[in-house]
Symmetry: C2
Subunit: 356 residues, 2 copies
């Protein structure tokens, strides 16, 4: 039993009794083929189950219908959804996607970035692990790169992100309006640019609310300890605002373990609105990011760059929505244990969120 190779264009040509060039022309929809020949080729293709070898095709034509996608972590629902949307859009435009995950590790990201070049993609969409992404991008990489979601330290890239600062500021203002006096702001790392932007958005927005920040890392037991100690300390903050989904999960679980319940003992809000935040009772006030929009815009931009439109790097900031739910309510009528309620959504208008 020898290894059966996939049928080649030559076999199709032989079977149809035509030349390989004709087969290629039929497959690529070139006009200069007689209907008769086209049919014979299509028959042969079907009978053999022939599928073009995309690698050989690219090699010869020098045009790649392939885009690379690099995300920090596929198991993060935000990124999974981003990739899923991208994948669909790409296929509609006839592109394939090579998707790789850096598993939140800059070194792994650098490895993936190097490796993905061997595919000779026409372009790359990257959600970088952290701000120092530019140093990891292999020199002499000629294909266009569009960054999404996270902002690099160095400018000069096409970028599709959200208005982190404004949205975080809106949450801070909401907390202030609810009468909270002080707020502990928790995030993975301030070295991740949008976490930093969110924190700065909070600081820029508050008037009376006292704020302090705590970094707890990603999957870092020490960071988890720091948070737990802070929440067990005698100076319990009036509210907790968590700046990323991973940290929100951890914070919510930690609160539960300690026996703290929102909003009874402490206000609780989160950047990144995940499904479970509507399911717990009361629901959790959160910033909802337009992930699908980000994917759409990133893809559209990359496609333009691939098609050759040059020009200065584009930066676009998409608006988030704010979901006000029970976890930040100081009105007495909202009780813990009650069924989750609808809540209230507000969006940015003319550069300002108008909550409350």
């Amino acid at each position: 039993m020898s290894k059966p190779r996939s049928p080649s264009i030559k076999m199709v040509a032989d079977r149809a009794g035509v030349s390989v060039a004709t087969v290629s022309n039929v497959l690529n929809g070139k006009p200069s083929v007689s209907p008769d020949f086209a049919l014979r080729v299509q028959d042969a293709v079907r009978e053999l189950g022939y599928v073009v070898d995309i690698g050989a095709s690219r090699l010869r034509s020098q045009k790649s219908q392939l885009a690379g996608v690099v995300v920090p972590d596929l198991t993060n629902p935000m990124f999974a959804s981003f990739v899923s949307t991208l994948e669909h859009l790409a296929r509609v435009d006839g592109f394939d996607l090579v998707v790789v995950s850096a598993r939140n590790n800059p070194e792994e990201e650098a490895d993936r970035l190097r490796n993905i070049r061997s595919w000779r993609p026409a372009g790359l969409i990257v959600i970088p692990c952290d701000g120092s992404f530019a140093e990891r991008l292999p020199g002499g990489f000629s294909a266009p790169v569009v960054l999404a979601d996270r902002i690099p330290d160095k400018p000069g890239f096409d970028l599709i992100a959200v208005d982190n600062s404004a949205a975080a500021g809106a949450i801070a203002t909401h907390l202030e309006n609810q009468g909270y006096k002080d707020c502990l702001v928790v995030g993975s790392w301030l070295s991740i640019s949008n976490v930093r932007e969110r924190w700065e958005g909070v600081r820029g927005a508050v008037k009376r609310l006292g704020v302090e920040v705590l970094e707890i890392g990603i999957d870092d037991p020490e960071g988890a300890d720091r948070l737990e100690r802070r929440l067990r300390g005698r100076q319990l903050p009036g509210a907790l605002f968590v700046l990323d989904h991973g940290s929100s999960l951890l914070a919510y679980r930690t609160m539960a373990e300690i026996g703290l319940s929102a909003p009874r003992d402490i206000g609780f809000a989160s950047f990144d609105d995940m499904e479970w935040m509507r399911l717990v009772a009361p629901g959790i006030t959160a910033v909802r990011q337009p992930v699908e929009d980000m994917a759409e815009q990133a893809w559209a931009l990359l496609l333009r760059r691939i098609r050759g439109s040059a020009g200065d790097p584009v930066t676009r900031r998409l608006r988030c929505a704010i979901e006000i739910r029970g976890s930040t309510s100081r009105s007495p009528h909202q009780e813990a244990g009650e069924a989750p309620k609808g809540g209230m959504t507000c969006t940015l208008q003319e550069g300002r969120y108008s909550p409350d």
Copy 2:
């Protein structure tokens, strides 16, 4: 400004002052290269930022270091985690992965399956959309295929799945032991084999518990209506057992909207244990599937097949764990609204789950 091409092996050879064959030998670690030449090549590679063209390499060597992965839906956390694990394992073995999502659509799956062949992957790992997967697999596909998670109607495939029937039966027994009299079993489609297996596991396990089943589809408003009507009807079942994650989300939300709370008004259990099920109060009793193990075993098996080990198709069933939490408790001390508690885990022993 013309389009700058990636450096080729020829450019490296010129720069190092050697032949392309020598460059190739250095890159592929062939022993027959003098240290002197090897160094010169490595320098040239670094200076040019050369990365091998994996397509051209495969074309000539006829060996593909590429595996394809097809999943029904990347946004399902189970599948995302499956892919993420696979991706890591594959890279360790020097393989790249082409990942595609069928978006729960058999036609899209068929399209992806056809398309992925043009990459000439060395093998495929597929979580099929539904049981009739075999009909969608293009004829004459010679690379090995390993199925995971969902079971095809036709046998003859390598398969790594979980013990759906036993685990679902254990939940049913648990409900019975808790004193529930009847249970509504909800799933997307019984045509999805593991949903069917779970339902059959329930039926096979119950002695006194009255059971009925309801199919609600995937993202199907009509199905959602059916469920809501059933839960608003006068004959509210004693317990609800939902057989897949998507349906669990819907069911839990629907319950909340109606004002039903578990376990106060109705018992609630789920196949697929997601993070939020520990976060809501009380926690939700659920079957936890060994996703990472499934990915590991699927990859190991595929690698064996790629390396050439023939033999009859292998089927392996992995054991699930049962997480007993407050949502199925009939003891009065567990109250809704209380902080989520640790709960209790039990695993399969000698072919039987021993819950309660």
